[in-house]
Symmetry: C2
Subunit: 223 residues, 2 copies
C-alpha cells in the first residue's frame, strides 16, 4: 500500500486524484490478464465488476485522460493497455537500481513482476563485504560507492531501497546524491528526502492489517 494510493475525497487540489492513478494500475493488470486469455474487448461495466467498481467509476477514471471506449464495442484491451502505460510513463523500460541485498533485496531481485511491467533492475549495491561481489539472479552486487557512476552510465532514475531501518537514512542520502528521482522504500523507516524526489513507502504489515480487518469482519458476520 502506498501513500500515493491514499486519496482524500476532500482534497480537490490535484487535477487527477492519486486514487485514480492507483486504479490505473489495477485496470492495466486486469487488461493484461484479459489479453492473456485472448479477450480483445471489454465493456466498462464488466471491467468494473471484476475489480469491484461501478461502470460510471471506470468511465470517469479514464475520462481524465481522454476518450478510449468505442460505442457498442467497449474498450479494445490492447489499445487501452498502451494508453494506460503511456499515462503512467511505463510505455518505456525503466532502469532500476536495488540498494540493499539482504533477504528482502535478494527476494526482490528474483521477483518476476517488475520486469513484466517494464522495470529492469540493472544493478544491485550494498555496503556489506559479505554480499559485495556475489551474484544473485544474474546481477553481481557492487559497492554502494559506485552508485553515482551506475546512475549516470545506465540512466537510472528509480531506486528500490531494501536496507534495514537503521541504514535507511544514510542510504537514502546517497541515493538522492546520486541523482535518482524516485525511491520505492521497503525499509521500515520514513525517509526525509527533498521534494523533487518521489517516494513510495511499502509497508507489508499494512496489507496484513487490511486483511485482518476483513477476516475479523467476516468472523463477526458469521457469529
Amino acid at each position: 500500500m502506498s501513500i500515493l494510493s491514499q486519496n482524500s475525497e476532500d482534497d480537490k487540489e490535484p487535477v487527477v486524484p492519486k486514487a485514480v492513478i492507483s486504479r490505473l494500475s489495477l485496470y492495466l493488470r486486469e487488461l493484461q490478464h484479459l489479453i492473456r486469455d485472448d479477450q480483445q474487448t471489454i465493456s466498462s461495466s464488466k471491467l468494473g465488476r471484476v475489480l469491484g467498481f461501478t461502470a460510471a467509476q471506470v468511465r470517469k477514471d479514464f475520462a481524465y485522460f481522454g476518450q478510449f471506449g468505442y460505442p457498442g464495442i467497449g474498450y479494445r484491451c490492447e489499445e487501452l493497455i498502451g494508453q494506460i502505460k503511456k499515462i503512467l510513463g511505463t510505455d518505456r523500460i525503466w532502469p532500476v537500481v536495488l540498494v540493499g541485498c539482504g533477504n528482502m533485496g535478494q527476494a526482490l531481485l528474483g521477483y518476476r513482476g517488475f520486469e513484466k511491467q517494464g522495470f529492469h533492475v540493472v544493478a544491485a549495491v550494498d555496503v556489506d563485504p559479505k554480499v559485495i561481489g556475489k551474484q544473485f539472479h544474474g546481477l553481481t552486487v557492487a559497492h554502494i560507492d559506485t552508485l553515482s557512476t551506475i546512475v549516470i552510465q545506465q540512466n537510472v532514475s528509480v531506486a528500490i531501497l531494501a536496507v534495514p531501518a537503521k541504514a535507511a537514512h544514510e542510504a537514502a542520502e546517497l541515493i538522492v546524491k546520486s541523482g535518482i528521482n524516485g525511491i520505492l522504500n521497503f525499509a521500515p523507516a520514513t525517509l526525509n528526502v527533498p521534494k523533487t524526489v518521489s517516494t513510495v513507502e511499502v509497508d507489508l504489515a499494512m496489507e496484513l492489517e487490511q486483511l485482518a480487518f476483513s477476516v475479523y469482519q467476516n468472523q463477526d458476520d458469521s457469529n
Copy 2:
C-alpha cells in the same frame, strides 16, 4: 497496494469505505511514530498534514467509529492507537502461517514489520524437499501436508502465500481446505477462493508504477 485500498467514490454500498480502513493503517503507523518520538497528543490538522490529508478528512474518517478527540487537546496518541487496533482487529496477536519458503518467503520470514504490528508467523510450509526441515529465522519449514494440523493446533486464520505463480492455485486450495479465512497473496496470480475467504493481493510492480508516474510527472514539470 491492495484491492481493499481501492475505493470507488461512486460506490455507496459499504458502510465504511475500504479507503477509510486503509487510511486507518496510515494513521496508526504515524501515531506509533509519534509515541516513539515521545509525543503524547496530536491535532487532526497536524495528523492530516503529515499524511497529506485535510483535518476534515481525518475527523470524518474517525467519525465512522466514534468520537476520539478531546476539545483543546486533539487526539491522545496512545489511546487512539488502541482504538484503531480495536477497529482493525489487531489489538490481539494474529498467528500467521507462511506458505512457500523460496526467496520471497524467506525474506518475509525476516521481515520485522509483521511482528511489530501483532502478526506472529508461527509456521512455514512448502512442498520442496530442498527447504523442508531447514530453519529460517527460527522456524523449521514443514511439509504443506501438515497445514491443517498447524491451523487447528495454533489457531491460525491468516496465511501469507509466497509461492511461484504456477503453484498458486493448488496452494490456495490447500489453504482454504485447512480452514484459513484470509490470504495475503504475494504470488503473481489472481486467486479463485470462496467468498468466505478474504484475499489481499500484493503486487509490488504496482507500487513501482505509481512511483514511475510520480517521477515522470516531476520530470515533465521541470521541462
